[in-house]
Point group: D2
Amino acid sequence: MDAMNPMNKKVRVGVVGASGYSGEELVRLLLRHPGVDLTSITSRQYAGQTLAQIYPRFASYPLAGALRFSEPNVSSLAQQAEVVFLALPHGVAAEFAEPLLRLGRRIIDLSADFRLRKAEVYREFYGHDHPCPRLLAEAVYGLPEVYREAIRTANLVAAAGCYPTSILLPLIPLLRAGLIDPHGLIADSLSGVSGAGRKAEPDYLFVECNESLRAYGLPKHRHLSEIEQELSAAAGRDVVLQFTPHLVPVNRGILTTLYASPREPVGDAGARESFQQNVQACYRSAYLAEPFVRVLEGKSLPDTKNIVGTNVIEFAWRLDPRTNRLVVISAIDNLTKGASGQGVQCLNLMCGFPEETGLPI
Amino acid sequence: MDAMNPMNKKVRVGVVGASGYSGEELVRLLLRHPGVDLTSITSRQYAGQTLAQIYPRFASYPLAGALRFSEPNVSSLAQQAEVVFLALPHGVAAEFAEPLLRLGRRIIDLSADFRLRKAEVYREFYGHDHPCPRLLAEAVYGLPEVYREAIRTANLVAAAGCYPTSILLPLIPLLRAGLIDPHGLIADSLSGVSGAGRKAEPDYLFVECNESLRAYGLPKHRHLSEIEQELSAAAGRDVVLQFTPHLVPVNRGILTTLYASPREPVGDAGARESFQQNVQACYRSAYLAEPFVRVLEGKSLPDTKNIVGTNVIEFAWRLDPRTNRLVVISAIDNLTKGASGQGVQCLNLMCGFPEETGLPI
Amino acid sequence: MDAMNPMNKKVRVGVVGASGYSGEELVRLLLRHPGVDLTSITSRQYAGQTLAQIYPRFASYPLAGALRFSEPNVSSLAQQAEVVFLALPHGVAAEFAEPLLRLGRRIIDLSADFRLRKAEVYREFYGHDHPCPRLLAEAVYGLPEVYREAIRTANLVAAAGCYPTSILLPLIPLLRAGLIDPHGLIADSLSGVSGAGRKAEPDYLFVECNESLRAYGLPKHRHLSEIEQELSAAAGRDVVLQFTPHLVPVNRGILTTLYASPREPVGDAGARESFQQNVQACYRSAYLAEPFVRVLEGKSLPDTKNIVGTNVIEFAWRLDPRTNRLVVISAIDNLTKGASGQGVQCLNLMCGFPEETGLPI
Amino acid sequence: MDAMNPMNKKVRVGVVGASGYSGEELVRLLLRHPGVDLTSITSRQYAGQTLAQIYPRFASYPLAGALRFSEPNVSSLAQQAEVVFLALPHGVAAEFAEPLLRLGRRIIDLSADFRLRKAEVYREFYGHDHPCPRLLAEAVYGLPEVYREAIRTANLVAAAGCYPTSILLPLIPLLRAGLIDPHGLIADSLSGVSGAGRKAEPDYLFVECNESLRAYGLPKHRHLSEIEQELSAAAGRDVVLQFTPHLVPVNRGILTTLYASPREPVGDAGARESFQQNVQACYRSAYLAEPFVRVLEGKSLPDTKNIVGTNVIEFAWRLDPRTNRLVVISAIDNLTKGASGQGVQCLNLMCGFPEETGLPI
């Protein structure tokens, strides 16, 4: 595949595990993508049925009546697709990634399996040995705003997760610029229920989630491992994050509120003013040219309804003059910029398409 | 009124401003209260109409067909009621409180007008002079778990607000016991939309709130003034709080996540264990006998659906061994324990009723 | 048990199958019921755990920490309870009802198992033989507004279902009075998701129900059997109903829109006026004294939010002068008047308590 | 403008009244439309502000930062746009339509002002004289599946309304084919809250709509006038419809359940079978080639979540063998196929673009 693909040749793409919410969102994006030929979708549960039968919402696409779910099979996938998305539960991706890579296919994995660089961190957070530690060195963390060049030529991309994206994009430029203290960072996140996946468990029934607000997974959520890995890389030293995820009754969307202290004292008005100019300059330099990052200026604050269904992250920040603390609030769609849209953005880079191709803003 | 009211004589009660959500919730509680004779409800907007006409949900109470909203009038209120609730927007309560107190009536104010002890703090946060600063000294802060004895004999009670209740009840015992550092406290709160009142503004339309997550009022929310006043009183020194309120799509309920640092280092396992025992002992001592405070032990975390419609606050806490920070999460119903139920709890104390009377748990 | 119970002696009550939404609502009502001593709750799934552990929302009731779920067992139930509620899935109630009745206990069954009078209708709608057809003759249909006297002395009451209640109470008086044509009746119903029970199936996940409107179960819903049985009894002839249930994203509540034709022509204004007077008189005569029936007059239309959490049915009617059709719209809480509240109303009748005891209005 | 526009020349389009929900949805569609150059948006309320300021969700479109709302002005509109959309409240469109038409501009009106053919019907349903009856004869009813050819060359198109679309598309082919009785038709509709517009009225506040189900506007909703006009045209005789709209807590979506009787008796299995074949053939003939109509076959039933955000109508039908009545259930997005998407579909016809251009399926 040519990194300079002029899109006059479509890329053949397969999706393994297309039955969860991320898989469904991925199919939605790929059906509309002008450079993609979706040739294969697999699902043990739905094998033999058409896309239209399982997802009536896609039924008006001609392909949806023709394309059938198949049992996942490495050799047919390798035949049918140049790039394969893995939208599988954590822990299962390796069994497809390894043989497909060996056969020369490129992989975009939406699970957490290849996001960590160190197998021992994986074991600490996931409670078992990594199934294929050899590949961790080869995998590129799929956060295009940070690893764009490496993604272009990668064969194995591990698309960044939803909470991580909402936390990393606002914090990384500030840590790199040394503007905030890497100590004492706090992330307080709200997530829509699709973040839990299409799992038929009582906790995620309508009646249990509607009119309910609750925290969960305290205090050591698995996503912390990849978040801290990337924050540490940006800070040049070990970062430990306080992270509290909450479940709130919306379908899609993550809103994260971040608390950080300026590294230099901002005890007087002049120092505060100067700090604010530095933050503004830092964000403009990092993100002004980014198609999917929207740093709000003026009085606006993020609202998930402004980004749901798009691949955009929007965020705003305030220096609180009463506490001298920096508060940053970010919003993403957990299924798009937090999963499948991110994956398609990586696909665009890997295939030489314009980065915005097929991605709603 | 006898502090030993054996409830064989009902207390005549009036409600000024019964047309907002707090007023409606108050009417709901008073209609079911065995010690209360609801004699007067006022509303400029609804004057002349019956309770049943305005609130069809109360129509099966015989009183609802008979009781009519009247224009608010101090002398008729004084004639009809021994205790008067004020459920008015901020800034209006004083014009009723002052003359009614002079006529010997007792007042329970649900607004923020009499919650602050210092008129200059009021001016700082509300942007204008307090209309009746003389009464600030007389008013008692209506948080029964903290000011129970003073409330019994008070003539003017300023019921604690919704965010403040969710923050103060978890933090005050820890600050009093010197277990946490009064510096660096953070409160990250989620509120249902009824917290905004029955205001016909575009921001609170169904379509604007549903499938929306957003922060607001950054960084200096008005409630900070009363929260910091009470935290400072508990800590014995000035406390400045970082506070971020969010609007989320539920009707009722507040979920607050609090972040605090232990005052003594908890760098090793032994110190952590000892700190946790102290926190548990502190909460048991403060709240084991409280009818409306539920400190969750074991693995449970608060969920607003467990307390909506009740006067209960429930909370849980965790010491995070990775950050050595204490995280406390609390849940209340903003209209009940956060407003009208709190007011009725104060009423019970003032009238010598058992404190739980008429209050759902 | 004395039909003139002065409530100075509590009735010992057991609940079999307290783990679904109806069971939970039943426990809520029984915990607050002044004449009930809840002595036994059973659940295979939760056996050994306390009520407070499974339902944290009840944790502030002293009983909730003490009462434990047990495995369902006929002889212990018979020892511990005088009246036993069965809150089980359809088809299972008989195995408890039969032996408990033999041991002299009284039964209130919330399932559909004993609502039909004819075993062959049961077989037609439920697809298998009735497990205990002998008891069908003995069972009383638990709709107090229709079968009050029979319920008082019954030993086996089959509480009317949710859709049936919303349809029967508005139509029965009109059919009895011969005001509407028993032909061509239509019921179009909307139900909140708790109506599906606490079933961990993908269809009832938050993400599948939120922002979704859908019909289901067309065209022959099981509830039709009991609805048509009771409509036919009221009309004195066989009635066939067109019934379309819909699932809509609220937790609780049923809204039913009924379409019926006047039996006598109403082609001119005079006939319409006279028909309307007859309907009004018919409803007043049937329901003016009923504590839980609210027939709206004037311009008001039902809204489920006015009755959720209560045992009230409210409804309004209009004669459409353009079509000469009568439209009646009713609202109930499917878990209260549509299930557990109805059961408690039956309990009150069976035990000689005032009928409103312990039931919210 | 050439009816054979090869889309190598963009059409300049203006939107008058872009501040409501339909206006916002229209802007969303036009921003993504490859054949449109959005040159002008007007709003009295927002004049002077950019599109990005008022609708942050569009902020990542370069145009959104540049395009400003202006005061509505006929001559600037005529200068800037070849086609003008009117997204105004009912009763206001005429004052723009008349002069713009005179200046040779083409109009797509989303209001009800030009949907009726007879000024006297307008007066009956809207309570005042039509402001510009002369134009009624010129206007084409904007339902492309029915009036495609007339729309291509029309200068004034009155896009069909939301409830009407959900009712007309399923019923018109059956009436034209004489398969159903034009007497006794019933439409029972559920609408999301955006159908009420962005009106800051208490009835549409989040707290009033969430957890609420209610009917409204009984028995003579204004939309009946256009629905009955078009049903009558299809049936070749006067049709009177029973119509009950309900408000339910979703943002977008209409679900309509239609009840109709077969014109010929279907009393035996053979007649029913034959009727069903006729209905299937009728719908296939009418809609198999339509890009935005999806007639579900097999067991599927419509669900609004399958069509929200798209320009698709999906519907399913059942002949109930117990009542011999035909039940048809349809789903559309009230803002897309029910308003703005329909308008863009008309635009595509008027400008010679492929009909699907810029419209999500």
